[in-house]
């Protein structure tokens, strides 16, 4: 390596930082974008496929099977048409499969509220790093990321987000007691607030707790129902003192469920269940998440190929522009190179100086591209989960 040439090239690059960073940045993006896209998709596929593989079947209302899969597995913000809770009971009664209901309508501080049952923790292999599972109505368990980003711990409280601010007759936000925090898993569970499905129904207004309805507050009494006026205070938090006052109205079999995680007992049971929901006229559908996931990835890979083709054109343009920038820069600096030539610096050394400037800028670009790609690779799972969870 010719040290004076390197010295000159380093000094020039250091002195013209803006030009160098712009060129290096363009080069970095040109390299990092396609590389990151590929790594992102591959890493995300690996992480997300595992969750799809561990979820044999999902039952939901008929509609988009992709939306059902994305909502049930990755808690995508998607209004799913509800099933009745009796669909879950039927699955259980048949004895063909274990069924875990999911209620996915509400959010708390931006995180999905997943109404489910205690079996969900075992099904997903979720461990607690702090606290314990929910034990009563109004309790919640936080995913690791929710707890970390909001600085919450067992004993703290989380409010459900009111769906419609202007609906004065709607249910008020529920103040939920945090009973535990889950260990990080790198999945959608990290960004969820897990509650008992009855708590989800409570948020939906299907249950409520209130002060004793007596005296003037009673408008009318009908069989087992009492109609009270608006002066009766509803509780927006479940406590030991008011727990007994909470009660449901209506038929629990008709209470809404967004999806059901179905674990067939065996292959035969799986085949029977699959056959049972084949009829497209049925209001429910049974999907195999892995199939849906593969369809999704196939689409993404087709998009990736298209993106590559476009990026290749952009890359060629970027290289051409970079070459032009260098050529113009060297042309503008003709006097400088002529000075070096006049002083007696060898032509080889002058050529090396130019090449080293290009190499140094390219090396900076490669380093930036590497860092960017590494960052994307590192966060691919989490970002893909966020992407899928976005509405």
């Amino acid at each position: 390596m010719n040290t004076p040439s390197l010295h000159l090239a380093l000094r020039y690059v250091a002195r013209h930082r803006l030009q160098t960073w712009l060129l290096a940045g363009a080069l970095a993006l040109m390299l990092a974008v396609p590389l990151s896209l590929r790594l992102f998709l591959r890493a995300a596929e690996t992480g997300l496929r595992a969750r799809a593989e561990r979820t044999p079947l999902v039952l939901g209302a008929r509609g988009s099977s992709l939306d059902l899969m994305l909502a049930a597995l990755y808690f995508k913000r998607q209004a799913l048409p509800p099933l009745g809770m009796d669909a879950v009971e039927r699955l259980r009664t048949d004895g063909l499969a274990d069924a875990i209901p999911l209620h996915l309508r509400f959010h708390a501080q931006g995180a999905a509220i997943v109404g489910t049952e205690l079996d969900y923790f075992g099904f997903r292999g979720l461990q607690f790093i702090d606290g314990r599972p929910f034990a009563r109505l109004g309790d919640c368990v936080l995913g690791a990321e929710v707890a970390r980003s909001r600085g919450l711990k067992p004993g703290d409280a989380v409010f459900s987000t009111q769906e419609q601010v202007f609906d004065l007759a709607g249910a008020y936000p529920l103040k939920m007691r945090v009973t535990g925090v889950l260990a990080p898993t790198g999945t959608a569970d990290d960004r969820a607030v897990v509650v008992d499905i009855k708590t989800a129904w409570l948020i939906a207004g299907l249950a409520h707790g209130h002060e004793d309805v007596t005296g003037n507050a009673v408008l009318r009494r009908e069989a087992d129902t009492t109609i009270a006026n608006a002066g009766v205070r509803l509780f927006n938090e479940v406590t030991a003192d008011n727990l007994e006052s909470f009660h449901f109205h209506g038929d629990p079999g008709g209470f809404p469920v967004s999806a059901v995680l179905v674990q067939p007992r065996n292959a035969k049971a799986e085949a029977i269940l699959a056959g049972r929901f084949l009829d497209p006229k049925l209001p429910a559908q049974l999907i195999r998440p892995l199939d849906e996931f593969q369809t999704l990835m196939a689409t993404l890979f087709r998009v990736e190929r298209l993106a590559f083709a476009m990026l290749a054109v952009v890359a060629v343009s970027a290289v051409a522009v970079a070459a032009l920038v260098f050529a113009l820069s060297f042309r503008l600096r003709q006097r400088e190179f002529r000075t070096l030539d006049d002083l007696g610096v060898a032509r080889g050394a002058l050529l090396r100086t130019r090449l080293l400037e290009i190499l140094l800028t390219s090396a900076l670009g490669l380093t930036l591209a590497g860092l960017l790609t590494a960052l994307i690779f590192w966060r691919a799972d989490a970002w893909m989960t966020l992407l899928l969870a976005g509405s």
Partner: protein, 217 residues
């Protein structure tokens, strides 16, 4: 002892305009020659012919009795310039993104001089020319006078046998002009010094003078 010999030099720019003819010029170490003439009179052209930056149509320039500059391979001629010549260009020809120190040490770097000794000499020259305050400043930020002094110092750092200075005092005030001439003449005591100027006072400091009117054709 360094010698410069130019004989039967003939040069004319393409198009048949300006030209010069120099029958003979001989210079030895310790001799200083002032080349005088009005602007556009061909002083710089003569200097470029003597340094090999321009090649004559006829005649030859020899340094230390060696091969004529015109017959040397381009790489050898460059190496000879880098090693043996100190050049002060009319437009200073500094690298603006380098500091004063880096500009001064530039020829030495390419020559492979020992950095310590070259650095000391560069410092000494900077002190003599009153530019030490700008030692770490980029050359691009200097005034014309400061740039000219840096250009003079750069030509002297590697102690060349032949010194060619093209209007080395044009941008200087009288006091600094005197200091630069003192320094050049001092360096010229052990080298051949050819100094191009249109300033009669500067030319008067040199024992020998050449008027361009005598060599124009």
């Amino acid at each position: 002892m360094a010698t410069l010999l130019a004989e039967h030099l003939s040069f004319r720019y393409p198009g048949g305009g300006f030209g010069l003819e120099l029958e003979r010029l001989e210079l030895q170490s310790g001799e200083a020659l002032a080349v005088l003439g009005s602007s556009g009179g061909g002083k710089t052209t003569l200097l470029r012919l003597l340094t090999g930056l321009l090649l004559p149509e006829a005649g030859q320039v020899r340094l230390n009795g060696g091969e004529p500059l015109g017959s040397l391979p381009a790489d050898s001629l460059r190496a000879l310039r880098l090693r043996c010549m100190g050049l002060v260009f009319q437009d200073f020809a500094l690298l603006d993104y380098l500091t004063v120190a880096e500009n001064l040490l530039l020829p030495g770097r390419f020559l492979g001089l020992e950095p310590g000794a070259a650095g000391q000499r560069a410092r000494h020259l900077a002190e003599r020319l009153d530019i030490t305050d700008h030692w770490q400043h980029p050359a691009g930020r200097l005034s014309q006078g400061e740039r000219q002094r840096v250009a003079v110092a750069r030509a002297l750092v590697h102690e060349p046998e032949f010194l060619f200075a093209d209007e080395p005092t044009a941008a200087l005030d009288p006091d600094r002009r005197g200091r630069v001439i003192d320094l050049l003449l001092e360096a010229g005591s052990s080298a051949c010094l050819i100094l191009v100027t249109h300033d009669p006072e500067v030319a008067a400091r040199c024992p020998r003078q050449l008027r361009m009117e005598d060599v124009r054709s």
